[in-house]
Subunit: 458 residues, 2 copies
Amino acid sequence: MEVRKVLLEEHEMPRQWYNILADIKMNPPVGPDGKPITPDMLAPVFPMNLIEQEVSSERWITIPEEVQGVYKIWRPSPLVRALSLEKALGTPAKIFFKNESVSPPGSHKPNTSVPQAYYNKVFGIKRMITETGAGQWGSALAFACSQFGLECKVFMVRISFDQKPYRKAMMEAWGGKCVPSPSPETKAGRDILEKYPNTPGSLGIAISEAIEAAVSDSSGSSRYSLGSVLNHVMLHQTVIGLEAKKQFEKIGLYPDVIIGCVGGGSNFAGLAFPFILDKMNGKKIDIYPVEPAACPTLTKAPFVYDYGDTAGYTPLLAMHSLGHAFMPPPFHAGGLRYHGMAPTVSQLAVEGLIQPRSVNQLDAYKAGVLVARTEGIIPAPETTHALACVVEEALKAKEEGKEKVIVFNWSGHGLLDLGAYEKYFSGELKNYALSDDDITSSQKVFESYPKPGILKSR
Amino acid sequence: MEVRKVLLEEHEMPRQWYNILADIKMNPPVGPDGKPITPDMLAPVFPMNLIEQEVSSERWITIPEEVQGVYKIWRPSPLVRALSLEKALGTPAKIFFKNESVSPPGSHKPNTSVPQAYYNKVFGIKRMITETGAGQWGSALAFACSQFGLECKVFMVRISFDQKPYRKAMMEAWGGKCVPSPSPETKAGRDILEKYPNTPGSLGIAISEAIEAAVSDSSGSSRYSLGSVLNHVMLHQTVIGLEAKKQFEKIGLYPDVIIGCVGGGSNFAGLAFPFILDKMNGKKIDIYPVEPAACPTLTKAPFVYDYGDTAGYTPLLAMHSLGHAFMPPPFHAGGLRYHGMAPTVSQLAVEGLIQPRSVNQLDAYKAGVLVARTEGIIPAPETTHALACVVEEALKAKEEGKEKVIVFNWSGHGLLDLGAYEKYFSGELKNYALSDDDITSSQKVFESYPKPGILKSR
């Protein structure tokens, strides 16, 4: 009988993360004056040991033993052969996925929340503060903080807070405190509440509140934490792809196609980055980051310097961006509703090392339901975007009669997103067609900003 | 670094289930006249191949390859060392658990829904019909049916249907159809709706509807399915304990204490039964089934002949029972709210081979939160009952200074029960003290029923 799951024992888990900054050229983060940001300017926001990781160009960075100890709660994650999906599609392609839904919070997010909590703990921080939209990231940070005995505070966008009470309960189960944003606890929150007492909130406001709460803690023992976009987040996620490489070695295969959904970029980066060096060295791999057609950052937005948050608290980052004030339409994949893209992922797109694609919401759910009924696991709305691309590639392989090896990242399960499935089945979900004007309307701000260089790493 | 997860490769998965009927004496199911039920009397309800399993006394029954193929979606499940819990309790005990929450529906239930769907398929059945209370079993059957291309219909107790819309969406994601019970689709449902149009429903009514819908399908291609209590259900669940035995062999340990929560008995049986024969042969093992104090079937109810359902459609089963009309108070562990207990588990209790215990709701949640904050996984409300006992045993080992090996069954995760955690944190949950009268009030019916013999297997 054919094997479904390629396992690794705990002692086979990677001992180091892969840092792609060693292998690609990057435009540095800058201030509005175009001057590079120095590490000490970030010190009130992040602990210095994480800032050092953010700017490091060492290729391999050791995973601390304490982090490995917590990773072992769910890692190494299985590399799964999607035998039933292959059969349903009648494709000669071999389809594999890294199942990152097996973590306690149900997604790949704890791959970085755990080391972030560890480094904060080591640096003497007592309390981590973050924001969350749909709730995946807030849950992952609450879980990580519970493992290292840190307090955790999460500002959750009010509309999600009201619609998804389970996420709040989840954070609370791990000892985290979750409040709706805007809140009366910060100046940013109070200002908004005064003007718009009934606002549903936004990720931009929540980020502002979280950063303000962290930097204004006069004890100095609070820090902010971000779940995607930044270099150190991508670094931590590479444990996914490094495991996958070992697992493919075990079965004597190597992927022809790599697929991951992208919002901020971290689950895609986690799987793809460890394979990028092989591609730079001549290996033929098609690498597809897949974004929602309703938030087309890589496929339709320019490569510019822009802020990572709506309020403009962060440095300017060189990335593909729809403009930091871009408001994506209300599609159901909260983790992909981001105006920008990780600078590392953006740089790879600029260099043509990855080929961005986009899918619309209904195609994504259609693929998600097909996969739930074959492989059994109910995918997160984010993951369904990768699945739509996987189905397309598998059918293409069928047409071409090619026995390709396709691997994708199953970024999370959809058990706390079943409300969205309910809407899909009742016909309430729709696609969102963006006009050219919708796409460009938030991009005027770039005109006055510094411009990133178009760098070539090889 | 110490290993957390003891894994088995797929080729090490057990090829046979263990049938405890080969090793214990049992009172047969009987009709109201006291005469044993014959297999053909059950034929309108279950397919004959499952009825044969129900009455078989073969010790080992082969797991069909098609069932193994689906098991491999999540099996073998890891045997996890609860290192962080041990540390938090400061106990010298080594605590392990079988993590059955890793299945797509999130519990041990698919261990039996998958073979049940397979045997129905082989027998030519097109549609399986069942009832569900909290939704775990209905989800597991919908998942299994999607794997074998069967239709699935689930009657879900109306109050749960309304309170837990995610469960319905989950069944739908796997192609199952879930309707609130009572429904206008059956005579049983219509009769109740006419009398009590606003009834919240009950498991008893839902069972009646599911059986009626199955046996009244004039095409003859529908059958009923039950997720606990029956012998063949316990049989299928033994894959848990058989894997655990292999995993303990790998690390050179053997459990001193085995713990599982009990409602109908199936997750407990799955872990414990494969160890019972060793105990019969002189091995010293303490085996604790743990039930809610508010539904004290094994700890406070007599061993009698009683019906498995409220309406009295099933044969009379020899079991511990609070009376088939017993209505447990509304505590939040839907899977443990059952008036009876599997006849096999009941027989073991009668023989003193297992030592039943009970815990109240608040102690269960307290243990659940401690474990979520140490081991990371959020337990199902049912599992928290086992956890309360685990904590007690681990602290006892600490007092006694004994390095005991404790293993328990993590029957499911609580991601779709976070509403109950929310209530626990807000102080809304309470314990339910049952009076003697509460416990005995539904037991008068037994007086007129046949009486089971007190059998001794060894």
